[in-house]
Symmetry: C3
Subunit: 320 residues, 3 copies
């Protein structure tokens, strides 16, 4: 298999940067994007509102996504996530962190494709030396604290990737819809699912999820092993809270020791995450991706609930 | 664990070839095999009839096994499969290939054990340097095109192995019966399932499938992760066609990039496939295998629907 | 990830041995443990009664745990298990070994925490050079004979670990309750589940089992892949016996060859098992573990059916 080395990717990126001007959006679209009704406003000033960290007690924290209408994540939200990650890493008492959403229909729609690509590519690398998106994902997996994701509503793209990078995933049987839509939009996912899904659900189901690029409801996600379990929606919050409370009652160092050994047996290498990110960056800048993303943005991607709730259908309607 | 190096296997094979004359069948049987009603006639002249390649459109191809009564695969059919593989590899537009059967009761019974073993061992190695059977399997897994196997009826031995080497597997809930019967017949499977099944379904279920050597219906195959999903028989064809059509609408290079990274995380090495083939070759020539295969051929293996549809029971009836 | 090298672990253990006197129990408890009603008496003299080896025929053996009331395993029972393992290893005809319990409510409760820790740490290493517990586990996995575990009642700690180290696991749908309770008791499991569970059930479910440290009934254990299958209690014994009888009818060398290749694709290294054992030893001697185990022993751990049947609740009641 031919994979891009980081240096090769950097060269490609430099060429891409020369070809695509610095204000390039993810897709050059003829439609004006005024930002109204999008996820992109006020990112810097309202971090705590968009991604809310609650310390339920010293050992049990909760991170709630509250960025209506779709909990879309772009460069600003990645910075917010990294700040919260820094806090979790630095704390000596936290044992368990639950990630959930304040929006009933969206856990996290996907990455923000309306912003210029350079807003993403020019971000300062994280402590692992990688771009903040893969850096966040690998650091999330290696936290000393246990992370539990509670999925209600749609989780696609980076929403699915965040869930996969966390330790455990529980889904609403009736209301969760999980997917990696990216291949349908013409580019490879960047947050690590090619590394994580085959190890979690096996090669066959991973390829179906990634290349079929369709939605999985809670029940099917459980059958595939995409989530630990799907629970009746009315029981999901109580189940996750009880599990987190239980773990928070245990000895912290024992949790750390046990997780370290599970990581040894199960985590992909950082190099594999870097390769995934490089592949995303290269693919998203190809004309094929540009045309598909442009078509999706023209239909209302990131702006209209209509397309967001039928993204799996919209991706298959593109005519080459 | 002691595994055979290729060179050691070659020596063993040479010794075996000296011990067993060049017209040795897989099992030396006292029963005359006249070929009537078997899979073995006309392989060279009717390749397109026995294994049919249909280009539904430039991006979506279908390979249909139509070799009644059991879709048994022997050296001639392997050559046909390799030719089709060559075509898929060489094409620059195909994105997805569906493998299915024209026979309602058999996806693919198993490898042809009536032919002389030397017909198989003397085949010219493929581009990977391996025998055409393991060569086909590893090249099938690495195709740029996505491969989807639709299983209705029995898939055993090489039928199961082909399904496992493909990217995704869907089964008829009512009519699929999947198995690796080989251990029951006294020899180790040769097409890679010891490498693939543990990575797909975990060690415990892999050992049960391989060493229990019994049949798994669609529902149980799904529960075990042996197939992606079992669908009601009436929905299977429509589901697979819709998925293939969907994938065929996506960007080809994006599919390739994504699959490459999944392969990196999930495919066994070629060396592991070679070792599996060597183990098969050594085991099938031992007296234990010869006696068991002979007993099965005398009962009608490869010739009678009665034994083919009760192969899992017949293997357990042998008295040492 | 920081893991202990064997030599570093030996130093730590030596320090621990100096800090904790040679008669240290697993937890220094103020409650007198008189042994009445516990698992610990008569270990040396009644080995065949506590762990019973039955040769059903030359090819099919059965190992039955019969150490009421809980089938607790301590140093003496580990020695008994190793003797049986030696017999299985030395025999040239045995093809399949079933492990089950004569007690309706317990397959195997957990390791004996009432004995002095030095009774365990001073045991002579096994042929792998490891302590007899990890030595037993890795040798169990590599037996030429196929091993099948039939789980009825509770299997926790070393009971779960023995099941995971065996080749296949079947559970009573109504009566099996499987768990790794250790993290709840303040120490990391020592018999290899951090190495085995992620490979068997994926990282997310492995972390839930290990760090949630709660019980899984037969049905959920099957859904997670923790066991091969859960069967109605009335069918469990017949199913396991039929599978073992079937395997016993097959060619022994073919079983060995096939299992060897599955092992190559699926078994963790001995180094990983050693690291798991070192982590257990270090963690169980920390004050956090000592306090939790002491509290559990005071409630009746290893002595009272009341706490043994609510161990998953008791572990979460500890106040730091």
């Amino acid at each position: 298999m031919k994979v891009l080395s980081p240096s090769r990717a950097a060269i490609l990126l430099a060429i891409s940067a020369a070809l695509y001007c610095s204000t390039q959006t993810f897709a050059q679209t003829t439609k004006a994007v005024d930002g109204t009704g999008t996820q992109s406003q006020g990112a810097e000033s309202a971090a705590t509102a968009k991604i809310r960290l609650t310390r339920k007690n010293a050992a049990y924290w909760e991170v709630t996504f509250n960025n209506p209408p779709f909990n879309i994540v772009g460069p600003a939200e990645v910075r917010d996530l990294v700040k919260i990650l820094d806090e979790i890493e630095a704390d000596r008492k936290v044992k368990v962190v639950v990630f959930d959403s304040a929006l009933p229909d969206y856990f996290m729609a996907h990455y923000d494709l309306l912003k210029p690509l350079t807003d993403s590519t020019e971000m300062t690398p994280g402590p692992t030396g990688m771009h903040p998106v893969p850096d966040f994902m690998v650091r999330l997996s290696r936290l000393k604290a246990v992370t539990i994701v509670s999925i209600r509503g749609r989780a696609s793209g980076i929403g699915s990737e965040l869930a996969l990078a966390a330790d455990m995933r529980f889904a609403s049987r009736e209301k969760a819809l999980i997917s990696q839509f990216e291949v349908g939009a013409g580019f490879a996912p960047g947050g690590g699912p090619m590394a994580r899904l085959p190890r979690l659900v096996g090669r066959g189901r991973a390829l179906e999820i990634l290349i079929g690029a369709d939605e999985f409801n809670g029940e099917l996600a459980e059958r595939y092993g995409y989530v630990n379990r799907a629970l009746p929606d009315a029981e999901l919050d109580g189940f996750v809270d009880a599990l987190a409370t239980r773990i928070a009652s245990f000895d912290r160092q024992t949790i750390v020791d046990t997780k370290n050994l599970v990581d040894l047996a199960s985590l992909p290498s950082d190099a594999e995450s870097q390769t995934g990110w490089d592949t995303f960056l290269t693919s998203v800048q190809r004309p094929g991706a540009q045309a598909r993303v442009k078509a999706l943005i023209e239909k209302g991607l990131g702006q209209s609930g209509e397309i967001e709730s039928h993204l799996n259908q919209s991706t298959a309607e593109f005519k080459e």
